[in-house]
Amino acid sequence: MSITIAVTGLHRGENPQPGYGVIRSLRRHSRDLHIIGLVYDVLESGIYADQGADQIYQFPYPSAGAATVLGRLDYIHHCCPIDIFIPTLDSEIHLLVGIADEIKQRGIRAMLPTEESYQARSKANLWQLAEACQLNTPLGETVTDVDRLVQAAAKIGYPLMLKGQYYEAYKIYSQPQLIDRFHDIVYRWGAPVVVQRYIEGPEFDVVAVGDGKGGVAGSCSIRKTILSEKGKGFGGITINDPRLEELAFSLVKELKWFGPIELEFIQEEITGDYFLLEINPRFPAWIDFPAACGVNLAALVVEALWEGRMPEMPSCRPGKFFLRHSIDVLCNVEDMGTLATVGEWTPLGKTDE
């Protein structure tokens, strides 16, 4: 029996989203899947890429509100009944957490954290969480206005990191740059903004799937080997550091996290200590990399939701690495036109030829 899975976040540009990687992972796991791509923009590159979704539907931005999102979900669910929903974007998870019961009532299964878990890992609450788990996190503050911003920066000192509540992080060297970037981030992602002490050192990432009871069903740890200008991991290598794994697992345990989670750390060059940078409530953009190494966490989510079991995953063998590789995707303007006007499109027999 074919399972229908809806996935969001199909863009693979400068700031790549995880959805296309999730779809590729699912395709590795089983061919008997019907995958629906829910997109916010007709220019999300994964819409037109090979081995992508079987059907595409436009989806309203979270800012449209729960009623609009549920209304659109109902329409899509009526056209093509969805069994499993895997959201992949920070900006949509909070709204979905709030309507998790409504989603469930429609017979759609999703791995979503509780509101409490979701809030506890937010950038604003990171310091309390780190304290509860007895681990380091850079000194920081959440600010909503320029006065508080400047005060916080004076306390922390330059250089520092300035981060949006969902996306974007910048290394800041001076007050004029600080204020400029603050307005820029607030304009794009809204307040609050996080000001954080800058720590020099290599960055590490752990992706995991929490079972909702404090356990970890599967995980993969990497050292980021290439960072883009926006701080995105464009290259990484699998590692096996029990100390890092222990820190990550203690956070999943404290949060009783249910579903996909990405934990970002930096290792202070001088001390060798790990500092928790942030926790994202979804898979990272490099999620298909562990799947290619035999640790298919997207498939694990489907198995857990569909069969009610979480098979134990093997560990990722250290020494596998990925490099992000950009290609140009051929698209037909008629296809984009259909999606833009009708709101849905079925990519039939798509090839890169």
């Binding site: 290599p202 990497i222 050292r223 080997t225 096996n240 550091d241 020494g319």
Partner: protein
């Protein structure tokens, strides 16, 4: 005691390309360094490694000792040796 647990984990190929699975770092090691790591992994003490360097590379003990200590310092700086390591036996 010399702590070679991190060195034991180091994955090294015949050409001297090494990968530390703990940190994800990679290194290029000279052929001499490769021999030294191999001897240390086999459990040889510092004095024995120095003797092996003298034999293998036909150098005097003072030179071998200086090069060996320099190499250990490099390993230490990469965290492949713990602080306070001394003679292995």
């Amino acid at each position: 005691m010399t702590n070679i647990s991190r060195l034991q984990q180091l994955l090294v190929n015949d050409n001297g390309f090494a990968f530390d699975p703990n940190t994800g770092l990679t290194y290029n090691i000279s052929l001499t360094g490769l021999d030294v790591i191999q001897w240390l992994k086999q459990g040889n003490a510092d004095a024995e490694v120095i003797s092996l360097i003298c034999e293998q590379y036909e150098v005097g003990r003072a030179t071998a000792e200086m090069d060996y200590n320099g190499f250990l310092a490099t390993l230490h700086s990469y965290g492949l040796f713990s602080a306070g390591d001394g003679d292995s036996k």
